[in-house]
Amino acid sequence: MPVSPAFGQDDSLRTIQTRGTLVWGADQEGGGPFVFPDGNDPNKLVGFEVELAELIASHIGVTAQFAQGQWDKLPDLLDRGDIDIVLNGFEWNSGRAERYGTSIPYYIYELQLLARKDDESIQSWDDLITQPAGRPRKMSLLGGAAAEDFTAAFAAEHKTTIELALFEGVTDAMRAAELGTDGIDGNVQDLPIWNFYRKDFPNLKPVGPPVGRGFYVALLRKSDRKLLDSVNEAISAGLRDGRLRTIFERYGMWNDVQAMRALETSADGGFRGLVKAEESNNTRTAEGGSETDVTKRPELSSSQSLHGLKVITQRGWFLVKAAMMTVLLSITAMPLAVLIGLLMALMKLYGKWFVSIPATCYVELVRGTPLILQLYVIYFLVPEVLKYLFPGTQFSISAFWSAVAGLAINYSAYEAEIYRAGLQAIPKGQMEAALSLGMTRNLALRRIIIPQATRIVIPPVTNDFIALFKDTAVCSVITVVELSKEYYIQARNTGAIVELGLLSAFLYLAMSYPLSLLAGRLERRLGKESR
């Protein structure tokens, strides 16, 4: 249900009360303990934020209505007016506070360093500074979350390099750390998330005490001041009368740190501690736990909003570099896809049943499942299966080659069908003429049939090449940062959605248009030969 943002006069609260629902956004993909489908009734959502939303809604006198959005896109949904409030473990930082109305914190979180139980080389944060294998440590992280900022700042402070593998899901990030996928050494995770999921990751251990304390806050539109006031009232009321504590205890999230908030929260629900902390100290310590550590982490880059030409000159290079990754993925994956596709088409058309049936199954299976799933299987499942089949050996497929394999396999199914049509379009007489000249069927295919079919399939294959170009964006789910992902990161970081969006669109066009021109020329040249 779209909610139009209020202009001028602030009708935010009245609009919601008239409507009777508070539309709150979260990503249930993020999972527990925040918002997740109930194990007993998957249609029902549970999680501490579900209960928090109900608490806030009932304070306003309305019912809470959930709206699903991809986590990193939730603020965008707020901007679009699709939702009233975001409740999804968004950490307070000055960049967010500048762009959005931020509530008083409803939870104080800390970050937990995680490593594999059998990995003796990581006993504390300081071990991330060392590089025992002669290469930088690699940590899996939820992209755009506080853990990313904290880890990057930690590396900068200690003048070392820590590679960050960014994931879109917290469980993905932990699984990658547990498996050691792509050389990942460990994970930095919000403590409540680790507590909630720890039994699912028996091979991970917490390393050292929690660090990097921060605050989960609700995000609202900046203009909805009255709604923000009501939200703050609701949270502080829940804090005072113990209802929030009850909720947190239910999800195993209550700890002593939460009680500290009483000190930070003034009687009228104002949020004082932060202001103090911001001006007093920015020390970041890997030890954590001390009282001076109740600090927001200074924003590394998202504090200033950048716009216009400035953002292009400052951030444009990131997009260009990411565009190169897009090109690299495409030009590596597409030839493979065409090759596998041709092989499958030949198996389907000319193979005996024990060859043609598997080929048909392959094409249908690959065509019938989404690319994103195939990427997951290759990145997460294949190394696992290989490890199981060959115990004792270390298998790891890098994110890049997983992405190439996923794209190549996915597109090979389509290329197989295109090639099948192309091969079938060659008149029967061509094969007969070749055979009657004494050629074997394989020789006839190689010399006579396939070259002609290739000319026929050039236009549709080029079309698919351009489509693959854009599908590389999906590879961000397995942490490959290409143009689209980089755009999201930079746009969210700076708020320059339009400027960087236009630049990204231009880059995509600049890459795909020459391809169309080339295809047109090839088509004309080859067309002349055969007609």
């Binding site: 007489g429 007969e432 003429a433 055979l435 009657s436 000249l437 004494g438 020789l443 010399r447 007609r531």
Partner: protein, 245 residues
């Protein structure tokens, strides 16, 4: 050189060849005539394995094909196809290759001839069919008669003992038909063995050694052209000849 013995071919329950027996000697020019649907083209195509058959046997210079046998077929066919070439009604030149490339393709790929040898031979053959000056043209730019002459040169490049002509002039207009017929007559006079499915009586009369009349899947009459044409025994032959003339 080629012996067919009791060839039977069925499509489902319909018999399209009903026990055809005939033989063709080395260098013999043999013409298959008869009404449409009589099985002429099917019979021709069984000889080099483009069609299967259900009963009987085919022997080409000692290599045997047995009806219904598909196991040893592939190997036998490769041998037979090197001895027996074929020219199609629709020419079937390779459109992605030039005229010269069409002719040298099989000698180089199948017989593994070096390129110079294959090209030299190809030019000789293209000259013989009057197509040398079109060596570098693409098939698509040629007329039907020109394409068919190239197709004949392409088949000759494999030096076949016999050539199967499957209605080689049916897709051509009368002018270009004459070019192709004249090339075929030259070949026949030069001692090239061939089996020709055609409607051209003139060609049969001028160069054929033997004429077979095929009707409903059976050979109903065989003999030298003057005997079959001037003194046909069979009722159906007489009817067919009257219709065609």
């Amino acid at each position: 050189m080629i012996t067919l013995n009791g060839i039977v071919k069925r499509y489902g329950s319909q018999e399209v060849l009903r026990g055809v027996t005939m033989s063709v000697a080395r260098g013999e020019v043999c013409v298959l005539l008869g009404p449409s649907g009589g099985g002429k083209s099917t019979l021709l195509r069984t000889i080099n394995g483009l069609e299967t058959f259900d009963e009987g046997s085919i022997d080409v210079s000692g290599t045997q094909l047995i009806g219904g046998d598909i196991v040893s077929r592939e190997v036998a066919l490769l041998k037979i196809r090197r001895k027996v070439g074929m020219v199609f009604q629709q020419f079937n030149l390779f459109p992605h290759r030039t005229v010269l490339e069409n002719v040298i393709e099989a000698p180089m790929q199948v017989l593994k001839q070096p390129r110079e040898q294959a090209v030299g031979k190809a030019k000789e053959l293209l000259a013989r069919v009057g197509m040398l000056e079109k060596s570098n043209a693409r098939p698509a730019s040629l007329s039907g008669g020109q394409q068919q002459r190239v197709a004949i040169a392409r088949t000759l490049a494999m030096q076949p003992e016999a050539i199967l002509f499957d209605e080689p002039t049916s897709a051509l207009d009368p002018n270009t038909t004459a070019e192709v017929i004249s090339v075929m007559q030259d070949l026949a006079k030069g001692g090239q063995g061939m089996i020709v499915v055609t409607h051209g009586m003139k060609f049969a009369r001028s160069v054929a050694h033997t004429v077979h009349i095929l009707h409903s899947g059976s050979i109903i009459e065989s003999g030298p052209p003057e005997q079959v044409f001037d003194n046909p025994h069979h009722e159906i032959t007489r009817g067919f000849l009257m219709e065609t003339n």
